[in-house]
Symmetry: C2
Subunit: 299 residues, 2 copies
């Protein structure tokens, strides 16, 4: 079972407008609303890829119940603990000219006992998990070392700029901007991304990946071999592609793939995500096709 930890989920709302004009009223042409936050995006993508998934989420209030209902309808198995705090919303406004304008709520703080209950749930699920993903931010009110405590247990893939990196997760996966921040390296070009991945590998002692959007990704395997990969496609719906990338990676590893093939699967899933609207939504056969087209080679 692949355990996808969603410590800070949100309802992701997307408005489509012709143009965003500050100071004026908009009546969006299109509107969509999905369970979101990186952890749930990974869970959705991993489910779409055929993974045996359990999402562990800290949910709150009516908004949380809506998320639970939607995940059920989407066929994503959920285990949740509950907070008295309403689950936050995130709004993206897609304008034809200015692209995405995003508004992320912080959410209200969870209490210490609500966080403890969530940690206990994750702890109880870890023994049954072949892979565990820890993605995105912790909720306000969670301890700063919330991920660190979980990282040491089992095969964990960490996608967050967090103290946990040094605790030695099996995989660290960051995008170029996050990797620059975490590794203190300029990641503007391929060489910089590789240097950042090598630094993350050195610190975590295991696999490190740095994603570069349409430019592909660089992987340093646990034994220190650097690989680069990219796949040709570039769809417009890039929100959640990083989450789909992580899902593709762990589903492939869980299925026994080696690192080069896992990187191919990750690239294919990320690119397939960009072809469909909705973070973490993808077509499995299209992801496989794009994975096959991926160019993966030693650096």
């Amino acid at each position: 079972m692949i355990l996808c930890v969603a410590a800070n989920p949100s309802i992701d709302r997307l408005f489509t407008v012709e143009r965003l004009v500050p100071g004026s009223i908009h009546r969006p042409a299109e509107f969509a609303q999905v369970p979101g936050g990186k952890g749930l995006n990974v869970a959705r993508a991993a489910t779409a890829l055929g993974g045996d998934v359990v999402a562990a989420a800290l949910l709150g209030g009516h908004a949380g119940r809506w998320i639970a209902e939607q995940l059920d309808a989407e066929g994503v198995p959920l285990r949740a603990t509950w907070s008295d705090v309403e689950t936050r919303s995130s709004l993206s406004v897609a304008g034809a000219i200015e692209g995405l304008t995003e508004f992320y709520e912080h959410g209200r703080p969870v209490t210490a006992s609500e966080w403890a209950a969530f940690e206990e749930l994750v702890d109880s699920l870890l023994p049954g998990a072949s892979w565990t993903t820890l993605s995105g931010s912790l909720p306000v009110g969670a301890p700063a070392d919330g991920y660190e405590r979980l990282v040491s247990s089992g095969r964990v893939a960490l996608d967050a700029v967090a103290a946990g990196i040094d605790a030695g997760p099996a995989i660290v996966k960051l995008n170029a901007a996050e990797a620059a921040h975490a590794a203190g390296v300029d990641t503007a070009d391929a060489a910089g991304a590789r240097a950042a991945a090598e630094e993350l590998h050195r610190r975590s002692g295991s696999a490190a990946l740095v994603t570069r959007g349409v430019e592909g990704a660089v992987l340093v395997t646990p034994d220190g071999t650097p690989l680069e990969g990219r796949t040709p496609a570039a769809g417009p719906y890039t929100v959640g592609s990083g989450d789909a990338f992580l899902a593709g990676l762990v589903v492939a590893l869980d299925g026994g793939a080696g690192w080069p093939d896992a990187l191919r699967a990750a690239l294919g899933a990320g690119a397939a995500n960009a072809e469909l609207p909705g973070a973490g939504r993808l077509d499995r056969s299209r992801a496989a096709e794009l994975a096959e087209q991926a160019d993966v080679r030693p650096v």
Copy 2:
């Protein structure tokens, strides 16, 4: 009892940002979320003014249940019918420089039977209502003449550009922009607003009000007497001031006030709303103070 019909409520969300920059990510400093839509704003303001209020709302899903819970906490008595469609959200982004940038969801269509059940609820409450307010838009899926059917029954105050105007509500209240649209008159100045109110009075056969923001309001009484009024204050929180104005008016009329005093009370409530954040939130004694300060005179 004052019946406040909320046919198309919403969860009103307010983000506060330093500056809204199209195409970028915002992490709002402040965030508030309240039950909204004009009908619920009127109900909240009328309750704050000491009115004996019942809000009749068509609610949906988890978002609707959140609204019901909040109204209960606010002490606003609610009677609701339920739709399978999630109640919509509206987002306002308050920027220090560009002011309010607003995003109004249409919401998904309600079914014919859901609308029929709501109309039945309102019909059952009308006999017990001394005044009924019909404010704002109808939900998508409701019949275009949804308000018209209700207007003929009892003392109805209508705040909507709708077919219902010609069906003869006891009060028509519109803001200057809506009145311009409904009456086909330029309402940019006081004379225009008065001409629009007279046209609305002619069509409805009863009281007509046109509000002009900080410039005050014009009222044509049922017997055709035109009055103008304004009150000095101008707070920053103008969202919902028109709804508080209507609440002030019907609460005063319900208490036996004549038209000049009712106009004073309406102006005081609208101005008091602008002094507190949150649509339809106001301090009752401050509203009374501002009503006393209002200058109301025949034109």
